[in-house]
């Protein structure tokens, strides 16, 4: 689905990632870990086309990112659900409208998906906050709303950047549960996190591969996790 081949990325001359290869096959579950500043977010951005590799090749759904125009990238985003670290929303729209935004911008009738939307909000525990505005939400609520928005289009790939950064243990388990269930439905999942206990919890439920970024390279983490 998403392939990085010998990819390097540098910000203004300083190389952050190099000789990096990664394949996200359909239905796989990956964790991406590493110290903060190691390039987890950059790697995710390479995976959804927000950044283009400075060298090497990135392919999204078989298409070379270099050959993709802005509209191609936009179209690929409809098949990739992204949970951003900072969970940006449209602050003037209510939570339920924000969650339904991917439907709105892709021209699908939100009314036809009302039941779907209601269920999804219930699943992430935001039914009562559906009409609130994003600035009124707590950190955890924002992350749940961001996850709901990422999956509403039923994407083939879900990329989540620290999805449990601001939520308590119980909620992080629920979010993980949600991602695991999505994975069982055949979705590819990649979660960037530095929360090792989350990774341990996941390992008992799903066959997850753990990738670790260190010294600008990516490596499969040891079995100790």
């Amino acid at each position: 689905m998403i392939e990085l081949e010998n990819v390097a990325y540098s910000y203004g001359g300083a190389e952050l990632l190099s000789e990096l290869s990664l394949q996200l096959a359909p239905g796989t579950f990956h964790f991406l870990t590493g110290p903060s500043g190691a390039g987890k977010t950059t790697l995710l951005k390479l995976c959804y086309g927000a950044l283009r590799p400075t060298s090497g090749q990135a392919r999204i759904f078989g298409q070379d990112v270099r050959q993709m125009g802005r509209d191609d990238i936009a179209m690929s985003r409809r098949r990739i659900g992204v949970v951003h670290q900072d969970c940006a929303f449209l602050d003037h729209l209510a939570v339920h409208e924000n969650v339904a935004l991917p439907l709105t911008v892709s021209g699908q009738a939100v009314a036809g998906q009302a039941e779907n939307l209601r269920e999804l909000l219930a699943w992430v525990g935001l039914t009562e906050r559906a009409t609130a505005l994003p600035p009124e939400l707590s950190g955890g609520e924002r992350q749940r709303a961001a996850l709901a928005r990422a999956v509403i289009m039923s994407p083939e790939v879900i990329l989540a950047d620290e999805p449990t950064g601001n939520v308590d243990w119980e909620m992080s388990q629920r979010l993980l549960q949600l991602l695991v269930e999505l994975n069982r439905m055949g979705k590819t999942v990649l979660i960037a996190t530095h929360d090792l206990s989350l990774i341990r919890a996941a390992k008992s439920q799903v066959q997850a591969r753990v990738l670790r970024i260190a010294n600008r390279r990516i490596a499969t983490a040891g079995a100790d996790l």
Binding site: A50, D91, E97, L101, V105, S106, R149
Partner: protein, 301 residues
């Protein structure tokens, strides 16, 4: 091109959801409305000026070009003979449709405004006037002047060109100035909308980033802005045009003696022109916002 067509189609159809993704901005919206209105108001006057001057130029051209005057100053005894000689000569001149000596009563009427009705014209050495109507082709004034000089020494031909030409020229310049003003106003509307659109795009950088993240195409994002600014320019210009037209209607009418200033206004089919201002302003705003949005969005990751 296709994108422009898409945008135009969406503009007509309207998309409530797309409109809502960009947060409403009360203050800049009012400023855009006001500026579009003020520009449309000015455009109405530029048009009125231009059209009135054009009308004036063509009126002068038409009316004065078709008539001229021969003035005969001769000793009392020769007046009749010279007049009939001049009339004969004029009737033989190609390009002259008719020539007619003014009667005493008519001459008196012409002089009355200056000397009063009591003036005994018949006792004064008033020159005899001959009114000459030209055919569409016109005559050769230089040739006629030479022949008159030879045969009727007291005759002076006045073909009105001397004072008609600078006036027609001035009116022509006024027309041009009016159109240049209208063009400048359109350009100013474009510049103003571009500035406003750029400000709106910059202020909504986060909104654009979120929309990109959830898979919105540039076209979709641009549409939300383009539609908004086009509607604002359209509404503002419609209000400004309406006010401008009312102001033109309220200009005091000069009636029969309408001169240039009192003739400022629209006549006949020219009334269509002010009605074109709002759609034109809308079109300018549409193009300006579309270009600004594509430039800003193209520069984003």
């Amino acid at each position: 091109m296709n994108q422009t067509l898409d945008t135009l189609r969406a503009l007509g159809r309207g998309d409530k959801a797309a409109d809502r993704v960009v947060p409403p901005t009360g203050f800049t919206a009012r400023l855009t409305l006001f500026a579009a209105g003020a520009m449309a108001f000015l455009a109405v006057f530029a048009l009125a000026l231009s059209l009135a001057a054009g009308r004036l130029a063509s009126n002068w051209g038409d009316e004065l070009a078709r008539s001229s005057t021969v003035r005969i100053s001769a000793p009392a005894g020769q007046m009749v003979a010279q007049t009939s000689a001049a009339l004969r000569l004029l009737q033989q001149t190609p390009g002259v449709a008719s020539a007619r000596a003014l009667s005493e009563a008519e001459q008196q009427a012409l002089l009355a405004p200056w000397f009063g009705p009591e003036l005994p014209v018949d006792q004064l050495p008033v020159p005899q006037l001959i009114e000459v109507q030209e055919t569409a082709q016109g005559y050769d004034p230089a040739g006629l002047r030479l022949r008159l000089q030879a045969e009727v020494p007291g005759a002076v031909l006045d073909d009105h060109a001397r004072w008609r030409r600078p006036l027609a020229q001035a009116a022509g310049r006024l027309t041009l100035l009016g159109w240049v003003s209208a063009g400048l106003i359109a350009a100013a509307v474009g510049a103003m909308v571009t500035l406003a659109a750029n400000a709106a795009l910059a202020a909504n950088a986060q909104v654009i980033a979120v929309l990109r993240l959830v898979g919105a195409t540039d076209n979709y994002i641009a549409r939300a802005f383009v539609r908004r600014f086009t509607l604002r320019a359209l509404i503002g210009a419609a209000a400004g045009t309406a006010l401008g037209v009312v102001a033109v209607l309220l200009m005091p009418s000069g009636g029969e003696t309408a001169g240039f200033l009192t003739g400022l206004g629209f006549q006949g089919w020219h009334w269509v022109m002010p009605a074109l201002i709002p759609p034109l302003a809308g079109a300018v705003a549409f193009a300006a916002t579309a270009v600004a949005a594509r430039r800003v969005l193209g520069g984003l990751s």
